[in-house]
Symmetry: C2
Subunit: 346 residues, 2 copies
Amino acid sequence: MRRATIKDVAERANVSLKTVSRVINNEPSVAQATRARVTQAIAELDYEPDPSARNLRNGLSFVIGLVYDNPNPHHIIAMQKGVLAACRETGFGLQIQPVDSTSPLLADELAEFVQRSRLAGLVLTAPMSERKELVDALAERGIALVRIIAATEDPDDGLPCVYVDDRGAAYEITEHLIQLGHRRIGFLWGGPQHRSSSERYAGYEKALKDYGITVDQHLVVPGDYTFDEGFRGARRLLALQEPPTAIFGSNDEIAAGVLAAAKSASVDVPYELSIAGFEDSPFSRQSWPPLTTAKQATADIARQATRLLIAGLRQYAYVDSPTPPRNQGFLPQLVVRGSTAPLRPR
Amino acid sequence: MRRATIKDVAERANVSLKTVSRVINNEPSVAQATRARVTQAIAELDYEPDPSARNLRNGLSFVIGLVYDNPNPHHIIAMQKGVLAACRETGFGLQIQPVDSTSPLLADELAEFVQRSRLAGLVLTAPMSERKELVDALAERGIALVRIIAATEDPDDGLPCVYVDDRGAAYEITEHLIQLGHRRIGFLWGGPQHRSSSERYAGYEKALKDYGITVDQHLVVPGDYTFDEGFRGARRLLALQEPPTAIFGSNDEIAAGVLAAAKSASVDVPYELSIAGFEDSPFSRQSWPPLTTAKQATADIARQATRLLIAGLRQYAYVDSPTPPRNQGFLPQLVVRGSTAPLRPR
């Protein structure tokens, strides 16, 4: 049997050659029904696009990978939502790859993931995105990537990224607690391997300093971005001879743990203890009282990062593509809810 | 330049031909470091496995797709975890595809997804897995799939599935509430497009009947598997002249909404109102009081379904593969926590 051509596909699907080409190249703005008709014609005719033409486009695939190591389901789902939104805009597919960020072979494992699944590129989230030697190793192997990182400004190091000003947002949360009259403000760290943790701590520390409050290291507890660590850390702070009157948990999961610890110790939130989180996860709106937090537009951040990655791939692939968008910064916004209040004198 | 052979790869990676073959076929039990070495050798030599040999294996790819339409992040993440665990066991990659289960073009869209991303098969979750015409349409197009469905027994219809006895588990939850002394037990429905919703309702109804309690339709509220619907439904039930003394929310998100509604109305849980959910999500353990629920081993269910899919693919691909495992049923287990108790007389 003669090998099917693009013309055969166009005839069978009753569309123009241009439309078939757009479907093959996964370009947007082809109606869903048309796309389905073309795909079906391709399948029925067993049509294979010309391999040399594909090579011209550097053998690009239309699947990207999302790489994460994060214990927080809300955060992962929000990330996936944002990446998927950008994939839908551009016709890309998404493979997900949870990893162990502490693995010494991570660069090899990720290179294998890209090779095996023929990925066009990777969206790297923290903490992988913040390990310079890993990012360099991947870039040296020619793997296209975009990073989502915690930083107050664009690192401007030649590799695309979206950066989130965790420090600035943590400053605002701490300032809010100070302005409510709190002086003894506890701080529960996220995972130390995430730069967002040290950035949020830096914002907390700077706000205290700016308001002339000495940082009391008894009120600062190391931990991880989980409910259990928030619960444990809060129990420890509440057991102090002079406990804090407010606790800033480095994310909403931690703050949820603080809330549970306060309730289990019959501490009245917010009148005996103010609690603030970070992220604006669904939990922060659904808890009672709802949580003061920093709205970290996670899905928007992930979508923008993915657009950046795909724009870079397209620029690489098509000479006439528009300039890729620039690195972009996000500042999470303070959201005040019922979990923070002035101390009520007994 | 001469085209690289599998022998060149084996020499460069310093492994046996068998090992290269196992890496190419994504078979398990190749050490991570060895796998990385072989993958790198393949990349460096630009080695392409013999296309005709690949065709012998029916052009199988080593990527599967997970298809879902569910508003509950914890549930999605648990599903993904289970599917990813089975993928890791077998060297498969995972693409995720949230869809609109009400789309009339869903069969075309999914066929396009499979075609475009060259997927080996699909894991279909509810409600897509429960729409017979959709499943038939996909099977007719030769798409390998496995379904996760709500059913008390194996449908035994020739297509692989994992089935979850939502009805039996809902019966146990309702029985638990009855045994605590409750007679007016509210029921908040999940999304009507999910068979799990009607199965859970059937279990509730049967338990009431078995204990000689008439179903009062004023206590039964339609809704969806979300916090907001739980909140809304509970407000409605609590406003009744004679409100229920217990509310069974069809999942933990709904139950979380009931808990928030009770707290906002200063109703004491569990002494003025018992609340039960379904799923054993992290929230059910983290709320105050923690929720009585049915532990629905979501990750295990999804892993088992994926093993079933992949075993079928392997059987198709290799004559000497073991018989694929059979369809398997799961019964979620009652977990009693602090949110349910006998009514405390005022």
